[in-house]
Subunit: 297 residues, 2 copies
């Protein structure tokens, strides 16, 4: 395609990642097959694959081979899926609907969902540690370390902990921003930075991608909150209005829908500015900000 | 100490690992501090530290520095602890007692226990991916890959899945052996092999340690089953008799206590034979088999 639209490009990457995940994920075999079945159920056949798209587009800036970028993207999607499976558990957000289907613990059972999440997290590190992801051991170590930091207590898990611990309390905008930077921002930032790691890019390039991802991730979350407030479950593929039902503070409730949308737009513009040191190869990352702002699911 | 007894040597390693874990584990800080608190609660202040001992003794065979061996041992103990925290959850084995104290979801809550387990698993990969564990990137990649394989669907998670899925059915000895090789054997094998990875040992040394760990792990599990059958909760520090209560097949119930003990003894002898290519530096691993056979908790 000479000039594919953004949504076409995202669909293409989603299809490539889907194919690769289908090939990489363990097949349900033997008496332990149920956990592989649950991993495949949770991971395949849905999802916008936004993080994989960012990883692949960032990798293109540094002429990384598509195979390597896609494997890294697949690992990131495994981790994202693990977080959804565990977050949906009854003891966490207790959500029955995900990506338009019963969530994993509803389709299987809680024990299988816990194990499938554990296995997806583990599998991501197996993908990144494997020689097929990059022939340079240093790059693989940097990927492993970067992912571990993004999803541990100072990243995704920490964010989810704040989210759980603050139920029933009202967060202010600063606390909510930090929560979301940990819970969703850190993995989005790693997705963008993974391209720079794979491409052994300069420190400046790393920083630029990190700053871009920081603003983009926050804009993404603000729109998520607006959709939770305004959308319906059928379009979202997950339960709408659940934050309000739980009395949770969100960007939409703290700022109000208008200011929230304005804020997301400002962050998107700011994100684009961080890409100034890249040439037109970064145009797809520039347009990704409009996907974030204009999405309806 | 000129000639420390086995139990003294194990206690010394346990103390060293405890100190290091205390230093490495995140401190409870900020609104997400609760998850770090739960990680520390689950990991510190208890446990035989049998896997760390194996890792450290195996590393000594190849003159690996103590720092490196202990960091690897600490990572393995984080993974072992994560597996206990998740296995104790109400949706899994539903156990209220662990290491003589309330299990993590009882001391905190289920959501925090899920997150603490997730974070401990993640943290293990962060430790192994870090330059302090080894200055050779290749060694760190091999550790990451080895751990991921040992605890994924073809290892620990697979074993726990079989265990959950086979409740209410009677496993035969072959199926039970495979279950235990995955559930506990794979991580014990990785503990032993990690010494060879750190020491860049020969293939033969790798194979010998793997074979040793295979037999040792099975003997360990057989004795575990006997203790569950015959022991009391106060001595074990965890709920005794729970396998029988659930109607689970164990080595003790399938073989009967006498044959089970005989089988464990044979496996321990066999384990020692696999160490024939090592000199007296392997004596501590040789005596570790008697700890396994004679332990009462």
């Amino acid at each position: 395609m000479a000039d594919p639209s953004l949504s076409q490009a995202m669909e293409d990457t989603a299809a490539d990642v889907e194919l690769l995940l289908d090939r990489l994920l363990p097949m349900p075999e033997g008496p332990e097959g149920r956990v592989a079945e649950a991993m495949r159920y949770a991971t395949l056949g849905g999802g916008k694959r936004f993080r994989p798209y960012l990883a692949c587009e960032a990798a293109k800036l540094f002429t990384v081979s598509e195979d390597r970028a896609l494997r890294t993207a697949a690992a990131i999607e495994c981790v994202h899926t693990y977080s959804l499976v565990h977050d949906d558990l009854p003891c966490m957000d207790d959500d029955d609907l995900r990506r338009g289907r019963p969530s994993t613990h509803k389709a299987f059972d809680e024990a299988t969902a816990v194990l499938a999440g554990d296995a997806l997290l583990t599998f991501a590190f197996e993908i990144l540690g494997d020689a097929d992801t990059h022939d340079d051991y240093r790059v693989r170590c940097d990927l492993v370390l970067g992912l571990a930091k993004a999803v541990g207590t100072h990243g995704m898990v920490g964010g989810q902990m704040i989210d759980m611990a603050s139920e029933g309390t009202i967060l202010d905008i600063g606390a909510l921003t930090r929560l979301q930077q940990l819970k969703t921002g850190a993995l989005i930032a790693f997705a963008c930075e993974s391209g720079a790691i794979l491409g052994k890019a300069s420190k400046d390039a790393h920083h630029a991608l990190h700053a871009y991802a920081h603003d983009l991730g926050l804009a993404y979350q603000i729109i998520d909150d607006l959709l939770d407030e305004e959308g319906d479950s059928a379009t979202l593929g997950k339960t709408a209005g659940k934050d309000r039902a739980k009395g949770k503070a969100t960007f939409a409730t703290i700022l109000g829908p208008e200011r929230a949308r304005e804020q997301a737009g400002m962050l998107a513009d700011q994100a684009i500015q961080h890409l100034d040191l890249f040439d037109e190869k970064a145009d797809s990352l520039r347009s990704a900000t409009s996907f974030v702002i204009n999405r309806s699911a």
